[in-house]
Amino acid sequence: MAVKSLIKYEIERDPAFAKWVTGVMGGERIRNCIQCGLCSASCPLSPYMDFTPRRLIHMAREGFKRDVLESFTIWLCTSCYSCTVECPRRIRVTDVMYALKRRAIEDGVFPRRFPIPVLASEFGNMIRRNGRVTESWLVVRVFLKTAIMRLLGMSKLGTKLFLTGRMEIVPATIKGRKQLQNMLDAVEAHKKEVAA
């Protein structure tokens, strides 16, 4: 039995992170959270989370950056918005979860082979390249990068989908790929400008 000290010292708090969380769209009222737990109670994924949504919100607003970004919680969120519609203080918890996901990806804080952020980034890459997502290729790419064995395990399902005509083989693309890329580039550029 490994004995650890779990005490939290003030030096661990990251005030800049706490401030950032209160500035994300949807997180403006995070300081008003009364910790009632309704978000956790309504979340269908909360039984599987290491920190319940309520607990994560308080840790985030106090600035415990490492615990928050390294948590399993943020990746388990399926954005069903149950928490957002329930919250008595009208905190958009789903939006906060998204922001934490983005921050975790930006800071590179997640296990390399963790499928969820890999799915997000492959999804994004495919859109930027083609303008649309082809489910079959997306799944292949994600599992190649994270869990090859599971890909083989899904072959039965894959065959069924192929036979019922639910598998798109030819990658879907759009004509306005350049237009879309220009748009995304301009948005990125302006964001950088504003942040500077």
């Binding site: 994924l45 918005y81 998204y98 996901k101 306005g176």
Partner: protein
């Protein structure tokens, strides 16, 4: 003749193919013309939001700007697309800094955005624009005796319940009853199916899927009716696994448009009913001969 712009979304060309097929059949029968949105791009769904927020608005924004050019409402059958398009419109309006950054994006794309496109869901269009009378007039074989569990999922009622009740939506119930089916009381009708978690965290996803199927059976439904391609996929594709882990379960899961189409007399093939993993034809054939 009513006309709408049509935004299928990536899923309706893949796993959700049957949704598109049945939707097109039903709308044609009701004399509605659907014009596919020109060169539409992926809306980003829930995944792009995890990469960049404003850019995900840009993805949806491009579609909205293209839609604005025609003076028609934009029909978005997929729940995720429906939500993202709506959310984009609201956030551009609510947050000036989003509007400002996107303005640069629209300019670079050579598009204009005024926020005038109206995003509609097929349930909304059927109930409010077309109306029950016209729908009932198209019925050839009412689905009498078929017990349906109506499953709406999350994203068409949360966080924006624009055309139905947030906690206990009823539009699909009304449509199914109108075509003669019996709709069972199904309190889990808006409980999350797990979305993409079945792929990434299989055990978690499976438990969420199982409870939905189990309750539908407990309430004596013959079939589950859905409106979202990912929900349909989740509930349809993993029943073997669920049976192994939790006990035998076999419940056909179809799109509401397929049920409407059956009532309108279309065949199983036309409505994509042969694409189900868990066979639906046999169950449905008892109530609608066209399904055979």
């Amino acid at each position: 003749m009513k006309r709408y712009l049509y935004y299928p979304g990536c899923s309706l060309r893949g796993t959700g193919k049957a949704y598109e097929e049945s939707l097109l059949m039903v709308f044609k029968a009701l004399n509605i013309e659907l014009e596919e949105l020109e060169d539409w791009n992926c809306c980003g769904a829930t995944a792009y939001m995890a990469i960049d927020e404003v850019s995900s608005f840009a993805l949806a924004g491009r579609n909205l700007a293209i839609a604005e050019k025609k003076n028609l409402d934009l029909l978005a059958p997929c729940s995720a697309c429906f939500l993202v398009l709506n959310k984009t419109q609201r956030y551009i309006k609510e947050y000036p800094k989003v509007a400002e950054t996107l303005a640069h994006g629209f300019k670079a794309a050579g598009l204009e955005y005024h926020g005038t496109a109206k995003v509609r869901h097929p349930l909304d269009v059927l109930i409010n624009d077309i109306g029950m009378d016209q729908i009932k007039a198209c019925i050839k074989t009412p689905l009498t005796g078929l017990k349906v569990a109506p499953y709406y999922g999350c994203q068409i009622v949360r966080p924006y319940a624009t055309f139905d009740l947030m906690y206990y939506p009823v539009t699909m119930d009304k449509l199914l009853r109108a075509v003669g089916a019996e709709v069972v009381d199904y309190p889990l009708k808006t409980r999350c199916c797990g979305g993409s978690q079945k792929g990434t965290l299989p055990e978690v996803g499976l438990s969420l899927i199982h409870i939905l199927l189990k309750e539908a059976r407990r309430r004596e439904a013959h079939i589950v009716s859905t409106i979202c391609p990912l929900c349909q996929f989740n509930l349809d594709a993993f029943q073997d696994e669920a049976s192994k882990k939790y006990g035998e379960i076999s419940m056909p899961v179809v799109y509401f448009t397929q049920l409407l189409g059956l009532a309108f007399g279309f065949s199983a093939k036309e409505l994509g009913l042969e694409r189900n993993i868990v066979a639906a034809k046999q169950t449905l054939a008892k109530y609608a001969p066209a399904a055979a």
